[in-house]
């Protein structure tokens, strides 16, 4: 059994640094240099960067702060507290697609698998060629930020001692098929292989934002307002001046910004916050993209070495072999019984018979780099809505991915494979049965996708007619209002996006910090070269701190 450290980074926080909206009994009116909406990957990274520059920062977070010691191991309790809509949020369109988003301090970094992927170069080239981002968002600009993030958050490959059989078998099988595959690189400081990434790491090993950049920013004087849902950003005379929120107890929370407001509330929430703030850009809410994910289970003979998904990195192995050719990425995912049960065929005796052998089940997955674009809108009662339907090409990619995974599972020794595709057998019993998947329907209602990794809806670009923010992440025509989350990404990536979101946010925050410091000192703009030098200064300050 693993032992917990004596204290976690989310304990013993500076006095007064956390204002809990669940117990707030009076309205709040406060002022900071910069106000950040959201404390997930983007918001927390920006807060850390800005506090390193000596700026005062207020963070407004809609969800509660779920401390490491309070994390529940069962999915129902955990999701009810830390997931948006208790984990029941869905994308609409021709088919419903569950969309899991953390709604807590740290956002989805509390409940994801902490996978670190630098933005692929072909994506940056595409952004430059098709969207004119050019040298503003280049590998040269981003690399120092990736370097800093990897140092801060201890990015490393999954240690073989906690790889677990689900991951090990995947790497072995993929390599046998001639696919490039490897253990993942993750934000990990001492993973014990508890397999509980999806409900929050009970050992504090996963370097999510609630254990790193948020508490580190609070140490530098930032303040966080938790359980306070932002209604809108106040814009006066074309300038963002404050954020208005409502605490869980119904109190009005107004946070004024001397220099800037950074919106980092996620691809689904940020566009609607901008809308409620009076932004009317034509591209707002449009061009939403995702990586729809599919998982396939395989039951192995009990005479084989057990898979035991309950041990090992939740997601620890991957292959980008098909990323550019077929537009999907293969990876493992160890599902807890709470989530696996619903996806295993049968009810009653048949279901429980299979569940009794869950320790012999491997689950491998694919995330599709879908070309489909959706629209983010606001529904009745202010509910965020996304309308999103996959294209035929996306479904072809998904079908191909299912075929590849099913074949891999059988070749690894599985005796049953559960593809979960309507129109194909629910149980495949031999590799010959995989042919059924090759002709599976190209209908989104036939697949059980989960929407992971969300992008776009407040896209970056030079032209205000086709984009929402400019190349410095500032909303066109509004001084001091920036969007720094993956809403600004012109396209999806084809790889897990947290690392790229953080690097982009760090880049944005560096530019905001430079601008704020310049305006404080009354100096004039020194351009991008000095922004890079400035980022270096911040890094040194960060390291020293």
């Amino acid at each position: 059994m693993s032992t917990q450290p004596s204290s976690f980074a989310d304990e013993n926080l500076p006095e007064g640094a956390v204002v809990d909206g669940e117990t707030l009994t009076r309205s709040i009116d406060d002022v900071f240099d910069v106000v950040i909406v959201g404390s997930g990957a983007a918001g927390a990274t920006a807060a850390h960067t800005l506090t390193a520059a000596g700026l005062s920062v207020g963070i407004v977070e809609e969800g509660p702060w779920m401390k490491t010691r309070e994390l529940a191991k069962d999915v129902h309790t955990a999701f009810g507290r830390i997931m948006r809509q208790s984990g029941m949020q869905v994308l609409g369109g021709r088919a419903y697609m569950p969309m899991l988003q953390g709604r807590c301090v740290g956002g989805s970094t509390l409940v994801n698998s902490a996978i670190a992927w630098r933005i692929p170069e072909d994506v940056v080239d595409d952004w430059s060629a098709r969207f004119g981002l050019g040298s503003s968002i280049s590998m040269r600009e981003l690399e120092p930020h990736f370097d800093a993030l990897e140092r801060d958050l201890s990015v490393r490959e999954v240690d073989p001692s906690v790889l677990g059989e689900n991951n090990r078998l995947f790497v072995e099988q993929a390599s046998r098929q001639g696919f490039k595959a490897a253990p993942m690189r993750r934000y990990d400081r001492g993973c014990k292989g508890s397999g509980l990434c999806l409900t929050g790491c009970p050992n504090g090993a996963k370097q999510g934002m609630s254990l790193t950049y948020v508490p580190w920013s609070l140490e530098r004087g930032a303040r966080i307002f938790t359980s306070c849902a932002v209604d809108h950003v106040q814009i006066v005379g074309g300038r963002a001046v404050a954020v208005q929120a409502r605490s869980a107890t119904g109190q009005l929370v107004t946070i004024h910004a001397r220099h800037a407001v950074l919106v980092a509330a996620s691809t689904v929430q940020s566009p609607n916050i901008l809308r409620r703030s009076g932004i009317r850009a034509g591209a707002l809410g449009r061009h939403f993209q995702a990586h729809p994910g599919l998982a396939i289970g395989g039951l192995f003979p009990t005479t084989n070495r057990p898979i035991e998904m309950a041990f090992g990195a939740t997601q620890g192995a991957e292959s980008t072999h098909f990323r550019t050719t077929e537009r999907f990425k293969l990876e493992t995912i160890s599902l807890p019984p709470d989530l696996a049960g619903a996806r295993i065929p049968g009810v009653g005796r048949e279901l429980t018979e299979r569940l009794s052998q869950l320790a012999h089940v491997a689950v491998w997955a694919a995330q599709v780099r879908a070309e489909a674009e959706g629209v983010v809108t606001s529904g009745l009662g202010g509910v965020d809505r996304v309308d999103y339907t996959l294209t035929k090409r996306d479904l072809e990619a998904a079908r191909k991915a299912c075929t590849v995974i099913a074949r891999m599972l059988f070749e690894a020794g599985a005796r049953e494979v559960w593809p979960g595709i309507y129109g194909a057998p629910s149980v495949l019993r031999s590799i010959d049965d995989v042919r059924h998947l090759e002709s599976a329907p190209l209908d989104p209602r036939s697949y059980n996708f989960i929407a992971t990794h969300l992008f776009g809806a407040a896209r970056m670009g030079k032209d205000p007619r086709s984009s929402v923010v400019d190349l410095d992440f500032q909303v066109h025509g509004v001084t001091g209002l920036h969007v720094v989350d993956s809403s600004v990404f012109p396209t999806n990536l084809g790889v897990n996006p947290q690392h790229s979101i953080m690097a982009m946010s760090r880049l944005a925050a560096t530019r905001v910090a430079e601008c704020a410091v310049r305006s404080t000192l009354g100096r004039t703009g020194p351009g991008r070269e000095s922004a890079r030098k400035y980022a270096k200064t911040l890094d040194e300050a960060s390291t020293a701190a």
Binding site: D74, V75, H76, T77, G80, Q85, S86, M88, Y96, A229, R246, G250, T302, T303, P306, E308, M309, A310, P336, P337, D338, L339, A340, G341, A342, R343, I344, P345, G346, V347, G348, R349, E350, L351, T352, E353, R354, L355, S356, Q357, L358, A359, H360, G381, G382, V383, E416, W418, G420, I421, Y422, G423, A424, P425, S426, V427, R445, S446, Y447, N448
Partner: protein, 167 residues
């Protein structure tokens, strides 16, 4: 922002339907290969709490699902009665047919119901332990002979519509 909530308590007949449907998914031994069924975990109370905790739209959707499952015997196996009043083996057939329905909403809503049943069932430490502990070959052989039917037989018997279930 606070969202409107309208969750009147489940009526006694709805509670009975819930218990029956959950029990069909996770029955008591010997109909289960796991240590106990879900019925001892008060599924109706759990379902009611879920309805109260989730947003209005999802809550209404789940309630509609309960009604759909409750009244499904008539349009799936042509039997007059609700899910609570028919025989256990008929309940299994009803749920299997709903999960394999050609109508997207029917199978998707039934799947959500199964997912919620699993969220409750997996909270049992005993059940979790049984699910996550590897079976040793000898033990497994004994289990397969002592149980009513092994997986491959059970599922081959229920081939047909279920064979194409999008689970």
């Amino acid at each position: 922002m606070k969202r409107p909530h309208f969750n009147p308590a489940l009526a006694s007949f709805e509670l009975a339907w819930t218990d029956a449907a959950f029990d069909t998914i996770y029955p008591e031994p010997p109909e289960s290969a796991l240590p106990h069924g879900v019925l001892s975990m008060h599924p109706a109370r759990f379902f009611q709490n879920v309805l109260a905790a989730v947003p209005l739209e999802q809550s209404l959707g789940l309630r509609v699902t309960l009604w759909m499952i409750a009244l499904a015997p008539l349009f799936t196996i042509r039997k007059l009665g609700t899910i609570a009043s028919i025989a256990p083996e008929d309940r299994v057939r009803v749920l299997e047919r709903l999960l394999a329905s050609p109508y997207y909403f029917v199978r998707q809503l039934t799947m959500s119901f199964k997912a919620i049943a699993t969220l409750l069932y997996a909270q049992s430490e005993q059940v979790r332990a049984a699910m996550t502990t590897p079976l040793r070959p000898l033990v497994n052989a004994a289990r397969l002979t002592s149980r009513a039917k092994p997986v491959h037989e059970a599922s081959s018997e229920s081939r047909g519509s279920h064979e194409h279930a999008a689970e």
